[in-house]
Amino acid sequence: MNIATAALAGTLADSGRPWYKSPKLDQYICFWSVPVFYNLFGLVFVPLSWMMPPRSPTNSIDGVVAFMQSPNLLLATTILILCVALSAVGNAVYMSQMRRMAVSPVLRYAFVVGAITGAIVGCLFPMFCFGLGAFREGYDPEVLQLLYDFGYMSFIGCLGCFFLNWSCLGLSILLDEKQTLPRWLGYYTIWQSVTEIFAMTLWVSDSGPFAWDGVMTFWFNMLLYVPWQFIVYFCIYRAIRQQPESELDNAPYVGGAARA
């Protein structure tokens, strides 16, 4: 949190102007939506509903029914269905930095489409599945088990979309001759994204290290993903700060507003 506080202070002190007059205000707002999103995400997933860490695929039918009909799960899914839209705002800030890179625009379009499909299949689908269980009483336990499997499979097993999404970011960083983001981050992003595909083993394994709650599928990916997400986030912050104001897309408008 100290780093985040220092970063926030940096945002406010940017060029000695009050923060609300910064021409990069739009990017900073998008940027600060990311910790809000992830904090909500964490609170809803862990202490509110215990959706995460993932429950076992071999959970007993009684365990599945009790979980799927929990009122907290319905509340958690409702909050997430509302706040998942924040991921669009967070991705907008990645996109605005990728737009600066001297690479083919195809990469950033593919990045955005990968992020959209990932959010729909990997977040909205599971939320609908988990929310339905508590919506109506008297669902057949087998139907609830189907929704339980569908929910976890789509949440953990749709990593192809994120693989594409992050690979495009990694490639853009590596091919960018302007070095908007550091090259080592490009390599880090590539190996992080490649390892994501290997969670696909959950489609053929319902127990052990390769199941959706397994050591190799879930925990190892988390070990790689969480530090990477923090690092990429701070690199993006540095890139926004270093971006010359003349390069901003909205420069003519904010310049006009400042004069007025």
């Binding site: 590596l174 091919l175 880090y188 394994s205």
Partner: protein, 198 residues
């Protein structure tokens, strides 16, 4: 894979003490990659220790002959690449190009042989879902195969670079060579773990 700094890149000094081949970013990637594989190796050994009979029994269905040929293929292609990098350092782009073309041609046999090995096994019902041994086998050799394919793409870029540039960017050639050597090193461990260990 950028080539902007080609003409200003310093040549390696005569005494190589303290000289880092390739670019620092590539080493970051390689160390990260080795870490990922190390976690897989350790996890494999732990699960193997829990079910030694199952792993030993399943191991019999692998094809050690193809494994040996694939090891020789990667060692030979790595040797060609080392000679090619040395030629590029000496400014002999034509020889470097020929040696890298040989690296590519030999290395490209690896994925072909992998298919020759995998397809009959899958047809015989030894799929990743059969048991934990085959899951580890397909996941780890599959992850390695992705690295081989990426390596072939990188060597392709290196060949294009050598063809179009009179004075090649040594840092770029070295970075690609270091990556290919890592792919080779990982295979040696995989080969020992899956085919040889009893």
């Amino acid at each position: 894979m950028t080539t902007t700094a080609a003409d200003t890149t310093p040549r390696p000094p005569a005494g190589r003490a303290g000289y880092m081949p390739g670019e620092p970013g590539m080493w970051f990637f390689i160390i990260g990659d080795l870490f990922i594989f190390a976690v897989y190796f350790v996890a494999y050994m732990i699960y193997r220790g829990q079910q030694p009979e199952l792993f030993l029994h399943s191991q019999q269905f692998l094809s050690p002959g193809i494994g040996v040929i694939n090891t020789l293929i990667l060692l030979t292609s790595s040797w060609c690449l080392a000679l090619g990098t040395e030629a590029a350092r000496k400014g002999n782009s034509a020889a470097a190009f020929r040696l890298l073309a040989a690296t590519f041609a030999i290395g490209a046999l690896f994925p072909l042989l992998k298919m020759v090995e995998w397809v009959p096994k899958l047809a015989a019902g030894h799929s990743p879902g059969e048991n934990l041994f085959f899951m580890y086998y397909y996941v780890m050799t599959g992850l390695h195969l992705c690295h081989v394919l990426l390596g072939l793409v990188i060597i392709g870029f290196m060949l294009r670079h050598l063809r179009h540039r009179a004075s090649p960017d040594i840092k770029f050639i070295e970075a690609g060579a270091v990556y290919w050597h890592m792919v080779d090193l990982l295979w040696l461990v995989l080969f020992a773990l899956f085919y040889l260990m009893r």
